[in-house]
Symmetry: C2
Subunit: 447 residues, 2 copies
């Protein structure tokens, strides 16, 4: 018998307030978790570097089609005196066998198109699914992820690390204290010049070169073809994740409609010509992705949200956060805030002292543990949240509804752009449960 078994908490299921039954993992809190990673590329090994430092987790299985990255992963484990993991490789279907292992949790760090199928299969195998962003590329997969979760009772958490960014959590903490008043308008987005990531030399992930697709390496191999063929916001989750927490989306509030607007496409083509010349075979392709895609969302509680995708033009990195309520606002780009009665009227004030003062309890408790982990420590928190939920047999801090709500923006934005920026109805993935569901994300310092 496998060590993973779940008991449905019938009292909660009967109450009907939550789709996800409360879960109790019979493994209990004392034994270590057995976890697997599918996809040992840059992202998989970055998560592995955090996992090998944990005492509560054994990485017992790893999977990739490329032997070289499996070797690198085993070395990382050996360097920390960890037992070698069982390897699954040989084809893009090898991961299916991995699901027969005795596992508590799986990290899915593969190219985008595999995320949803793997997460669904993991849940069906009774394994906590920790899936990299986005959880799904299509609305159909969003709906299916919810359906499989509701069938199986097994949690699926999209590993949206920015929900745990230190400044974002401090601002969430301030908002929950009422310091911004009632939320009104939010802005966010993925604004990151990825030209050197989308195009490379086919050998190193972030080197020079203008190759992609079959000739590219790492992200340029699988991410860039999306930009050639599709137009929409493919990467909304880093921006919208914190916004959803702040607005209690799916918990007394929900997105009701979405409209998207794309500029023309210039950035990748100009980059290829500049770095590869006019005669390069990749010059003058018909890139479908607009260089700046702006999406507007409306909520049933009357807030508006602007989210942007801006990854093919020269610009400084920014997630563009603006959280604005009736009493004030925080903006990330100028690192400032304004709060009526607290800061000087009509003036910005440096946000940092306020962020320090209202540092989230989780960061106060765990900043030492998170030090050195990827993306300023937030990767440590998102992994920790997922694994601690798994140890307790509890719902994950970001649940399947949160995950697919963030991910649904991808296809909805494509549809809106294709229809001349028509407003698209935003699906209610909770099936009406949002009216009673409570926001339980990071309410204290537990996980």
């Amino acid at each position: 018998m496998k060590r993973r078994e779940f008991v449905i908490n019938t009292s909660i299921a009967t109450a009907g307030a939550l789709a996800a039954p409360s879960l109790i993992n019979l493994a209990g809190n004392n034994s270590k978790l057995n976890v697997a990673i599918i996809g040992m590329g840059e992202r998989g090994r970055s998560l592995l570097s955090i996992l090998v430092r944990r005492n509560d987790t054994n990485v017992t299985a790893i999977c990739d089609v490329e032997q070289a990255v499996l070797d690198k992963s085993q070395k990382m484990m050996a360097d920390r005196s960890k037992k070698a993991a069982k390897e699954f490789t040989g084809s893009t279907e090898a991961w299916r066998e991995l699901l027969n292992e005795d596992l508590d949790a799986i990290f899915i760090t593969t190219p985008w198109v595999f995320h949803a199928p793997m997460a669904k299969a993991a849940m069906r195998a009774g394994i906590y699914a920790g899936v990299e962003v986005p959880a799904a590329l299509t609305l159909e997969d969003c709906h299916e992820l919810v359906a499989v979760h509701e069938e199986t009772g097994v949690p699926c958490m999209m590993l949206e690390n920015v929900c745990y960014r230190r400044d974002v959590m401090a601002v969430l903490n301030m908002a929950r204290k009422g310091m911004f008043g009632e939320m009104m308008h939010m802005e966010c987005g993925y604004q990151h010049d990825l030209r050197h990531v989308k195009l490379n030399d086919g050998v190193s992930p972030y080197g020079h070169g203008v190759k992609f697709g079959d000739e590219g390496y790492s992200e340029s191999k699988w991410r860039t073809p999306h930009a050639l063929h599709r137009n929409g916001d493919f990467y909304p989750t880093h921006g919208i994740g914190p916004v959803q927490q702040m607005l209690d989306i799916n918990c007394g509030n929900r997105f009701v409609s979405l409209s998207s607007f794309a500029t023309k496409s210039r950035g990748l083509n100009e980059y290829i010509i500049e770095h590869g010349g006019e005669d390069n075979p990749n010059a003058n392709l018909d890139w479908k992705l607009g260089d700046v895609v702006t999406t507007m969302l409306k909520t049933t509680n009357g807030e508006t949200v602007m989210i942007q995708h801006d990854t093919s033009l020269p610009r400084p990195y920014s997630l563009g956060f603006r959280f604005q309520g009736t009493k004030g606002l925080w903006m990330a780009v100028n690192k400032s805030l304004h709060i009526e009665g607290l800061t000087e009227p009509h003036r910005w004030e440096d946000a940092q002292p306020h962020l320090n003062e209202h540092d989230h309890p989780l960061w106060k408790k765990y900043s030492g543990d998170a030090e050195g982990a990827g993306h300023g420590g937030m990767d440590w928190f998102v992994i920790n949240g997922f694994l601690e939920a798994c140890k307790r047999g509890a719902q994950t801090p970001i649940d399947v509804y949160d995950s697919v709500t963030m991910s649904a923006i991808i296809e909805l934005s494509e549809q809106s752009i294709a229809k001349g920026s028509m407003p698209m109805e935003f699906p209610d993935f909770t099936g009406g449960k949002w009216v009673r569901k409570k926001n339980e994300f990071a309410l204290d310092d537990s996980f």
Copy 2:
């Protein structure tokens, strides 16, 4: 015979490229201009303070329904040893008589609803119409302003001062040198906490108090009822003016569609309750204006523009400019820019040294003259541009097409919001002439 007479330059009219015939004012360059001001409130007297310092202009007529502001205006002129102006008062129709005076130009600084009727009447009387923002509140008035201009050949310029803001003109100068590459995405807006302007004590314009409408004074009397009854972006011109110049709108480019999104309304009501108490008769009114209204525009050349109206919440003033092209971007809120090859990759750089280096020729030439004039000197430039065009019998630097394009956002945004953020077709006010019309705004240091 009146001194104003216009001769159509038939060579240009025949070419058909421009709707506005080239005008020659028979008064010539040597005699002074006779100008009038309708509306001697805060804004009218602010313009008057600039006019009384000019040697090329006589303010020969002033009009207002309130004697006190006429008296203040006469005193301002007397203090500069200027001849008293003829007064028109007694009713809200008194301005019609003023049009029989021997005038070269009129400044219209009245409440919004009078702008378009007065501008039309001025053109019909053969008088250059300089109208405060916005030029019109309705699409019908936008179309009529164009029709009257095309009938009469008389210029109508909306006095959009922000087109002349020093940083904006420097960035325009940089853009025209190609430093930002091809323009892609623009942001702008009127973000100004006006609660103390929209509500006052009925005696002083910016005092305390929570009165408005019949009981209010100055802007609270006529501006605030719009917020009670309507939902849209009522004040788009300060933001969109510079964007239009940067994107060559109506000159080889045009807006093709618009979608608007409004938050709920909270700010004014909370302000009234805080400053006037729960029992105040103005507490708990049903304010229609959403506190943050975000509007997205698309252009025929493939750029997107975001414009916001945010005037009822506590926040620092900002017109929110972001001008982004294929080679870099400027943002106003963090006073920074990024230009590929010029600034450090992936980093912001202080914009000011670049703005200084690329100071617009007009500012280089006239900054001394503009010193001390309203709104950081830009009011001097917009008045100067208008009057210099008038002296030359030339088209104004901001023409009627520019003016109504900026103003049309008001009703279009209302329509879109009323229809659930549906995209609205943006009218082509030029009747197709935009495909050949050239952008002649501030090409050199003349005016």
